[in-house]
Amino acid sequence: MKLEALPWLVLFLPLLAAGIITLFTLRNKTVSATLSIGAIVTGFVLTLAVIKFGGWEARELSVNWLSIGGLNVDFGLKLDALSLMMLLIVTGVGSAIHIYSYGYMREDPGFSRFFACMSLFTFSMLGIVLSNNFLQMFIFWELVGVSSYLLIGFWFEKPSAADAAKKAFITNRLGDFGFMLGILTIFAIVGSLNFGTIQELLKVNPALFGASATLAGLLIFCGAMGKSAQFPLHVWLPDAMEGPTPVSALIHAATMVAAGVYMLCRAFFIFSPDALTAIAWIGGFTALLAALIAVQQNDIKRILAYSTLSQLGYMVMAVGLTGPTPAMFHLTTHAFFKALLFLGAGSVIHAMHHEQDIWKMGALRKKMPVTFWTFLVGTLALCGVPPFSGFYSKDAILAQALHAHNYPLFAVAVFVAVLTTFYMFRLFFVALVGEPRTKEAEHAHESPGVMIWPLRILALLSVIAGVMGINKIFDLYSSRVLPPFTYEIPVGEFSGAVKYVGRLLEPFQHAPVAAFGGLIAVVIGFLAAKVLYGKAKTDPLPAKLGALSRAMANRFYFDEIYEATVIRIHDTIAAISDWIDRWIVEGFCIGLVRGGTDLTGRALRLVQTGNLQTYAFLFVLGVAVVLWFVLGK
């Protein structure tokens, strides 16, 4: 088989699996799961083969999709360091989660449907990653939205799940319309949507977009704002936790929500400096907002959801600070440890018979050792404790903030790191150590092998991903989209075994302020959590913080505000439209015409009296008037 066929196979195998499952094997659970898992694992292996034999160089494979009157749109795959690395993440983490789901969803009557949707999602996500032009990316972007809709609403009989699915889809759609307008703006100005072509044209003429440069960039960013749940479109992601936990892990933590960041990196060259500044601040603000909310949540999945929001904020901020490499690096490590944390949470929830309140758990170390230890690894990685992966990627972002001389955002990022450690160890102390708080917690038992092996693998990756040189691979891409003068040559590579030791310590030589800042943040956060929650029976914070705590617990009332404004306004406009239609257009205007006709008819009927004298009189009157007109004037 030729090498060019492999990426197409990687892309279309999951679609094939989804199709076969939907059409033929809905009744046969094992076959459905095998097809779905087989498709994604094969995709992972084939991606490895593509990298092994083809390397990281940029290349494109495309076919013509439509061509009408001077307009050509291709369907193409773009392979380069960025997309290949992302491909590895999606298929790799995806494989682990697919396998885990086989255990987690075993008892569910919709088992086959679940795997069909997961495969559909994988297909759409791979489509985003591989797209070589904006339109194609938009198409898969929407397909991802649909698969997310189907999976959030997987338990469609629960009204809350159906609501959450609708909310997610519509909020995303809101962002997507900005995205769409941005694409149309670019299309109108450049005449092409191919990433490579746009970049080439921009290189030749940097002022190509003229006055609409910032506008176009911000419109494109709207898409990322929806998908990566950035303020003010962040409200859908926590609700999306209504879906099954593996879905939360795959779609709403590791891959789909990262698509926004991926897209920003892919299209990095179109953003003007002003647009980038706005992006950085929105990212920083989201990181802070979500971290504050996470501090006072009690549902284990919601804590992780807000943590995801916060970490996505970090990534978006990094892109805004002209650092696609740190953003993608953090995206990668985050995919590993957040998937791990969600799957760990799923394992706990599974053991506790679908209890999600952390205040009803506790003391799981002995009963669920693998879940416990891997969850700890995930926590340490998320908090950014060296030598776990999260430390290196978060440090890269902090260093980028310093490098860009954006000190306010650096301060925000460090503060968010404090909060992150605080809420993660709050979760850890309350839910996993201490005394068992309920009967379920006492009788919890470890999950089956098919669920804990993925945990082990993801835990391993969460430990070592920081020093595997992932950032060096992303540098290959960044060096091509960043103008040379803003791009800093990475610190020289060591070789052999020293290489890894060198990478282990690199942050401390490279940007010591950032590295130590991150470390201090972790220590502060951990100590605060230890003091407050080390032995707590109930949450001490509400008493200490009062109204602030209530605001945090209530997610700063964003849902209520939207409910009262946006949704109310929309309902009102709809009601007004309907009213105008019913009464003004149909009732009044038509009524006037109808009534007018009616009145004329009645008036004319009065003339028809049937009285001969009246007729004669009117006739004479008419003749007189005519005569007066003809002769009198």
């Binding site: 939907t22 999709w65 439509l66 061509s67 009408i68 009157g69 001077g70 307009l71 339109l135 938009f138 198409i139 898969f140 929407e142 397909l143 649909v146 609403g153 469609f156 009989e157 009204p159 159906a162 609501d163 699915a165 609708k166 889809f169 519509i170 759609r173 809101l174 319309f177 769409m180 307008l181 149309l184 703006t185 299309f187 109108a188 100005i189 005449g191 929309h570 406009i573 709809a574 009601a575 007004i576 439209s577 309907d578 105008i580 239609d581 257009v585 149909e586 205007c589 038509i590």
Partner: protein, 520 residues
Amino acid sequence: MNDLPILTIITLLPLIGGLIVVGLGAEQKGLARKLALAFSFASLALAMGLWKQFDTTSGELQFVERHDWIPTLGVQYFVGVDGLGLLMVMLTAIVVPMSLLVSGRINERVPLYHALVLFLQAGLFGTFTALNFFHWFIFWELSLIPAFFLVRLWGGPQRAPAATQFFIYTMVGSVAMLLAFLAIFVATGKFDFIELAELGRNGTLASALAAKLGWYNLNTGPLALVIFGGVLLGFAVKVPLMPFHTWLPATYAEAPSPVTMLLTGVMSKMGMYGFIRILLPIFVSQMQMPKVLATLQWLAVITIVFSACAAFAQRDLKRILAYSSINHLGYCLLGVFAVAGSGGIAVNAATEKAAALNGVFLQMFNHGLTAATLFMFVGFLEQRSGGLHGLNDFGGLRKVAPVFCGLMGIALFSSLGLPGLNGFVGEFLIFKGVFPLAPWAAALSVIGLLVTAIFILTILQRVFNGPLNVKWAKFPDLTPGEIGLLLIPIALMFVLGLYPRLVLDVINPTAVQMVEQLKF
């Protein structure tokens, strides 16, 4: 070119079929159904033959037949199709058998019903192929009368006022158009669309009107505008363009679902077709007057946004879909009005216009297919629930009828414009073209897309998701027969979404040629 007068045959076939079926006795229901179906399938076969023989490299009229009819009046029998006409003939040929196949609930006066549907089909074929006003108008009206009776005799409880409203509205539009064309005939002595378009382009139409018609001392410009307004009204009511739309929700809601399939699937396209074939080429200089154009473009935006919002406020599935229909055709109107205008900020106006026009054609076909399919689903819902079609009458049906939900979900997502399904390509091309030509109109119209997503998801949520309404615990899923019936439109949705070239290759030359003839 083929010597066989294939367009005449395709138009006469349903007419003959209708005449045969109407002669059947009232008790010969089965025979009437079978015969009508056979005729509609024969038309479909002919349409497919037409599609196959059509030369896709040319944007010219093909299969032309031209015979003198009433030479003293300059009336010729003149038919032919280009890419647009062919697409509409194909749409008609597809939707009519779909509608007949789900007409099983019609049990009164069966032969008459089927005959009327066939007459309607003949009227549609005639409208989409005729190129001389004289017989074009006959077909145009021929389609109106059966539609009126179909609503009036087989409709819901409020059918009488709905049918009357429908008839009066479209009749007023038709009369205005007729008078306008008579005025044109008096001035120019021509009924031929192609020749009139030539006159319209080189400006002699307006001056001929002024020379021959003195009316209230109007001078050249305003007089031509009045005539233009008359023709515009005829089409604006039919599509409809707001505020000439109020007949539509009532009519769609009261008509039996198979008839609504015809009304929304193909009859609404007559108006769009008229805009593109007649109004745009003949009155191009009137349309390009800045005030007229701006008014029309904003009316299109209002149509799009307002109808989507109104759809959201409805609590009846048929009314929601009716407003959604107005919304979807609003995009077509927007596309046509943008194409009529100057280049806007576009770097390459011809490319953008060709894209928009291709999008409009495709959207007309897609909307016909999707809307007809959706009303078909509503028909199935009614059939299973004893005639209910309220948004809140159901709930949780997905549990008992997963296939129903899945397939209707696909049709709904197609209507929402999901990429991968047919609706997206047309809408994208329209927006792609309109955005550089009229940026603000396009940007505001995007609101319509968003609200559409909201009410479509609301339908999915209320009807299929949530806890199962106990009343429907025994709600039957689709039968294999019904699935087989639906597979064709659903498969077409996927095919056109993934491989739009199937249609675009046929219509692109026509669109490009129209744009060339529309030099600003």
